[in-house]
Symmetry: C2
Subunit: 222 residues, 2 copies
Amino acid sequence: MAYSHHDLELSNLKEKLLRMATLVETNLTQATEALIQRDDALARSVRDNDDAIDFLEKEVDEQAIVLLSKAPLARDLRFIIVAMKIGHDLERAGDEVTGVAKQALKINQQPDAHIHIDIPRMSSMALKMLQDALDAFVTGNAAQAHAVLPRDEEVDLTHKQVQRVLISYMLEAPANISHCLALLQVSKRLERIADHATNIAEEVIYLLEGKDIRHAGPQNPQ
Amino acid sequence: MAYSHHDLELSNLKEKLLRMATLVETNLTQATEALIQRDDALARSVRDNDDAIDFLEKEVDEQAIVLLSKAPLARDLRFIIVAMKIGHDLERAGDEVTGVAKQALKINQQPDAHIHIDIPRMSSMALKMLQDALDAFVTGNAAQAHAVLPRDEEVDLTHKQVQRVLISYMLEAPANISHCLALLQVSKRLERIADHATNIAEEVIYLLEGKDIRHAGPQNPQ
């Protein structure tokens, strides 16, 4: 089957999203390293890379609008809409990562408080969710997208646990309060990155199955 | 000039967004009241109303996709895309409001700590930004949308000030830590509601002027 000009434009859109995703993933790894290794230079490089992510989102949007103006077929229409939504979620995830890097710079100015919490594990979980959601998008694997969804709750629970530990640190030693508040923000931002990965997985499911599963009720009713 | 079927569909989309906006605005007022008046019943009604907002967002999305599949004119295409984006921002703002109500319920369980901070003023500022951004959308007033943008920074500054005051309360009396953390989250959520109002204003400007002003660089470089 020969590729039409239109197919090429859609794959170009897909390729732009993958470049965005790679940048977000690299930034997430670097921001976490910057925090753990107390490395200011690494934290600063994250903030610079975020501009490229923002720029790509604009490009995705512009290209999508051009494609929409060409009266696409129903299947392609859905792809273009989903591409815009994924672009938006990646841009938001990128902002959260930049926020992590900013907190790392703040924390690195203070002496090491030797506070041990689950930040590196949360970061790995969020990263893996992003990677799997994007993989599912590229390969058209709905099962892989579905498998991302329940992991969001695991990240939420870890965030709540981190919160509890940090509050106990604050109560023990009020001198640690500003350090702990910065770590609380990091944890919250990682939790939000997992939310964006979940949104992307939901968008991929909508693309592949035509089902809008947002706000479909809690997965684990309590 | 007679209205076409297509015009009616666009105004139906607009009307749905206005219903969403009214719900978000009502909820924001109620969530703030619930916090100030320590009123659990009011906080709970906020959480219930949020379902209606989520449902309307889905309807906006579905209707937008049907309209996009009918090969709209360039001007209408932009309107439909912007409507989806505004719907998404209203839904996110609604989630933040629900978060405020949730924190109010948490705070109301504790004795009144008589902590006086700028939360009511922040809430009014965010509400006014939302109202003005939506007004600009309805009346097609670009100047009104532009006027929303600089107010985001005012809200950011107030949030930072609230943060500082709350940290000083925590240092003074560690017994207040969990109360102060809940108020910190409220302040952060109000700041995010102002962010969504700013996004909506930017989307209205894009609709009216065709300029994408997102990520155009800081308004007040530091």
